[in-house]
């Protein structure tokens, strides 16, 4: 329950406390664990992809024994490769990049950072997690049904995804489960967004004006708006796709389509309609993944540079600008799909315009670091890594925003490199930064800094080794989505690059064991800490670690300061908590 009514910790049974809990903190951790399971599955799928790409002819006797259909005849079948590609993308985008930064950290820290005792609708919050859980379950089932997982990519392009079994293995039951899972996921995300928006607007503590909210809250708030308005569009597309698949309608299936020498009895649908609906959701989705990382990065850079965030209001404005522009750029995913040159130009201009608020953010981060007394903690390293990856991935976005360039590069590894760096790895670095920073708050113990730094350097070098060469592969014409590139004369000399990428990927994946060990070991054995180990200022650091059920105990927090008052001239310490009423400020 929100509000002052619930001030005492309620004794609950184990199931009500940890399984079907309505406590936003437990739900946040549930989301993080769900993302951890998903990211493990997604990574294993990518191992299969990299095996096939680097050594296409190789036979894997052990794997063949485990999965006889997938390795029929010795090497991995191309269909199995495609199903791995589809499921890797889907699981990573929906169940990792959407759940961890937004639903995981947001659930745990948004209410505390605004001074609320819980989300506005705790029961709906619990429901949103369990609906997400069901969606993941359905998605995982798609891996194990007859015919295997779908092979239509995470974008599920129609008509391939709409035709059913006749179009290929995995496009029968597997694809149906895929669409159903996505539709369920949409509903869960909407429930989460409702809670985030309402809590931020209605349940802030006294004195917590909008301009005193940490940038993390602004980022989650904006992300929730994006999710609230983008997921219904994907839901609509999903419903239409389900009807095309099982209801005999023709929303996406055109007339006269011949598949396997059979004329498909549908007519008049438009495959482009799917692309428009999908990408109208799909582009905001990119920012749903990355905006929380930006918020966390601003928060952490300021904390460990011991300086206020440079130009707080500009940062808020930039978050909103990015969110707004994300709704009017979806066409840049479709330059290849046939589009009037005038539309292309319009989408190109709006896409390039994203560079402006992105540059504002980047330069403000650099200005925040400038002249600071930087503490190179693991959280800080990951945040700086985030900035590095955001720049590396963003710059190639400016290239791809131009239709003429995009048409050449669209179906190549250049695009794979671009979106993995900016949407995948940068967002993951945001997650790692947040984990290192908030771990003491969540579990009352520190993560090992040494292991954290080892993990950071291995991962940073690793991901650059994996994704930087893909740019060259793409520029040389290396085609994405193909299971095997050695069939093409002009691509054969590039095969060593694929081998290098695969080896780098395996090393990077192995390096994640350092993180896993650090995470679980520190939960039990890490050094115990007090309320505020980092000398931070925001409200979560006024509570015990971990915070009690109602966050603030009998006290009702009152906020007197902005969130980033570090190094205030004349103050007795180098930071001023948001709740500190009196401070001598020499101006």
């Amino acid at each position: 329950m929100a509000g002052p009514a619930a001030v005492h910790e309620v004794r609950r049974s184990f199931i009500r406390r940890y399984i079907f809990s309505v406590d936003h903190k437990v739900i946040g951790i549930q989301y993080l664990l769900l993302a951890l399971v998903s990211v493990t599955v997604g990574m294993i799928l990518s191992v299969f992809m990299r095996l096939r790409l680097a050594w296409p002819e190789e036979k894997w006797p052990l794997l063949q024994q485990l999965m006889p259909t997938a390795f029929a005849g010795g090497p991995m079948t191309p269909e199995f490769y495609l199903s791995m590609m589809t499921m890797h993308g889907t699981i990573m985008v929906f169940f990792v990049l959407t759940t961890a930064p937004l639903s995981g950290f947001g659930n745990y820290f948004l209410p505390i950072q605004v001074g609320a005792r819980d989300m506005a609708f705790p029961t709906i919050n619990m429901l949103s997690f369990w609906v997400t859980f069901v969606a993941l379950g359905v998605m995982i089932c798609a891996l194990f049904v007859t015919g295997g997982a779908p092979i239509s990519g995470w974008t599920g392009y129609a008509p391939l995804s709409a035709l059913g079994e006749i179009a290929g293995p995995g496009l029968g039951l597997g694809q149906t489960l895929w669409v159903i899972s996505i539709a369920i996921f949409c509903v869960a995300s909407l429930l989460t967004s409702l809670n985030f928006l309402t809590t931020t607007l209605n349940l802030r503590a006294r004195g917590m004006s909008l301009t005193r909210m940490p940038l993390t809250v602004w980022a989650w708030f904006t992300t929730a708006i994006l999710a609230l308005l983008a997921f219904p569009v994907l839901l609509a597309a999903g419903i239409l796709l389900i009807l095309d698949r099982v209801g005999g309608t023709s929303f996406f299936i055109p007339a006269g389509l011949i598949v396997s020498d059979r004329v498909i009895p549908h007519e008049g649908g438009s495959p482009l309609l799917w692309q428009h609906l999908f990408w109208f959701f799909g582009h905001p989705e990119v920012y749903i993944a990355i905006l929380p990382g930006m918020g966390v990065t601003s928060h952490i850079l300021s904390t460990f540079a011991r300086k206020p965030v440079f130009a707080y209001r500009a940062m808020v404005g930039a978050i909103f600008a990015i969110g707004f522009i994300s709704y009017i750029v979806w066409g840049h995913h479709m330059f290849m799909s046939g589009m009037s040159p005038y539309s292309s130009m319009a989408f190109s201009i709006t896409t390039l315009a994203v560079g402006v608020p992105s540059a504002i953010k980047t330069f403000n981060w650099l200005a925040t670091l400038w002249g600071g007394q930087i503490r190179f903690t693991a959280a800080m390293l990951f945040s700086i890594g985030f900035v590095s990856l955001f720049v590396s991935g963003g710059v190639t976005g400016l290239l791809l925003a131009q239709p003429a360039v995009d048409i050449a590069l669209h179906d190549t590894y250049f695009v794979v490199a671009h979106f993995h760096i900016i949407m995948g790895v940068a967002a993951i670095f945001g997650i790692f930064a947040g984990l290192h920073y908030w771990f003491p708050k969540m579990f009352g113990r520190m993560m090992s800094e040494t292991l954290g730094k080892v993990h950071f350097w291995l991962t940073l070098l690793g991901v650059y080794c994996v994704f930087m060469p893909m740019h060259f592969l793409g520029l040389a014409g290396g085609l994405r989505r193909y299971a095997q590139l050695t069939e093409f004369e002009f691509l054969r000399p590039l095969q060593p690059i694929h081998v290098f990428i695969s080896v780098a990927a395996f090393v990077t994946i192995a390096a994640q064991l350092v993180f896993l060990f650090n995470f679980f070991w520190s939960m039990k054995r890490g050094q115990a800490v007090g309320p505020n180990p980092w000398d931070s200022t925001s409200l979560e650091w006024t509570t015990p670690s971990p915070p009690p059920h109602d966050n603030f105990g009998p006290l009702e927090p009152v906020v007197y300061h902005g969130p980033y008052e570090y190094g205030v001239p004349g103050a007795s310490k180098d930071y001023v908590m948001q709740t500190e009423p009196e401070v001598e400020v020499g101006r």
Partner: protein
């Protein structure tokens, strides 16, 4: 109860970072004043709106692409259904007026309370009549040989009216819940059997009725919009 604050706030000026205590931060954290139901409903309706905006764009695109677009003839019963739904918005309005006259002292058995659950029940009945009428309309079309997959227009008709019906069903569930609680708390002899519905203080009841009404009126407006889109827009 009054919660203790971290430090007494009297006499301190807050000149950094926007309005402090007494400013806009933290308003409505008292349960009775809380705006959460209304805010939450507003955002839920924004999401539902986006769902139908997306389907509208699909409808417009699909129609634009199809030279042989042939709309189904509108079943006459839809006029009746629409009338029932619009009327239900007025009965709900009457219920809200009755609610403003309910005082804590007149909780059990007051005339205003009787009017409140009377009008709410009538709203429920009208909503139910609307849904049954929609099913009759579906039956009429299927008797004419028009099914979900017959033509793009019939696909959209079944889809849009079906989705709207599902959303309205949610509204009916909400009103039924409120109605049962008011029955239980205000003197109907079925109190014991309905304890599982939970408790609702009068201020919270008011806010839930307000939020539910916002939803119900929006679903009515949505239906009129869908009717115009399906049968008037060319």
């Amino acid at each position: 109860m009054v919660a203790r604050t971290l430090k007494d706030t009297a006499g301190i000026r807050f000149d950094t970072g926007g309005p402090g205590p007494g400013g806009n931060g933290g308003e409505g954290r008292e349960p009775g004043k809380s705006q959460v139901h209304y805010t939450g409903m507003f955002f839920a309706l924004a999401a539902i709106g986006m769902l139908f905006v997306a389907l509208t764009s699909a409808y417009v695109v699909r129609q634009g692409l199809d030279p042989a677009w042939k709309p189904v003839r509108m079943p006459a019963i839809l006029w009746f259904n629409t009338f029932a739904l619009i009327t239900s918005s007025f009965t709900l309005k009457k219920a809200r007026w009755a609610l403003t006259r309910v005082r804590v002292s007149t909780l059990s058995g007051g005339g205003a309370t009787a009017a409140l659950y009377g009008w709410l029940t009538l709203t429920l009945v009208l909503g139910f009549i609307f849904l049954c009428g929609q099913l009759v309309a579906w039956r009429r079309l299927s008797l004419e040989g028009l099914y979900l997959s017959t033509s793009p227009h019939s696909s959209f008709f079944y889809l849009l009216s079906g989705l709207h019906g599902l959303h309205l069903l949610g509204g009916i569930a909400a009103i039924l819940w409120l109605d049962l609680i008011i029955w239980r708390d205000h003197g109907f002899p079925i109190q014991r059997g309905l304890n599982w519905l939970g408790k609702l203080e009068l201020p919270v009841l008011r806010r839930k009725v307000e939020a539910t009404a916002l939803y119900w009126h929006s679903m009515g407006a949505l239906w009129v919009y869908l009717l115009l889109l399906l049968f008037a827009w060319r």
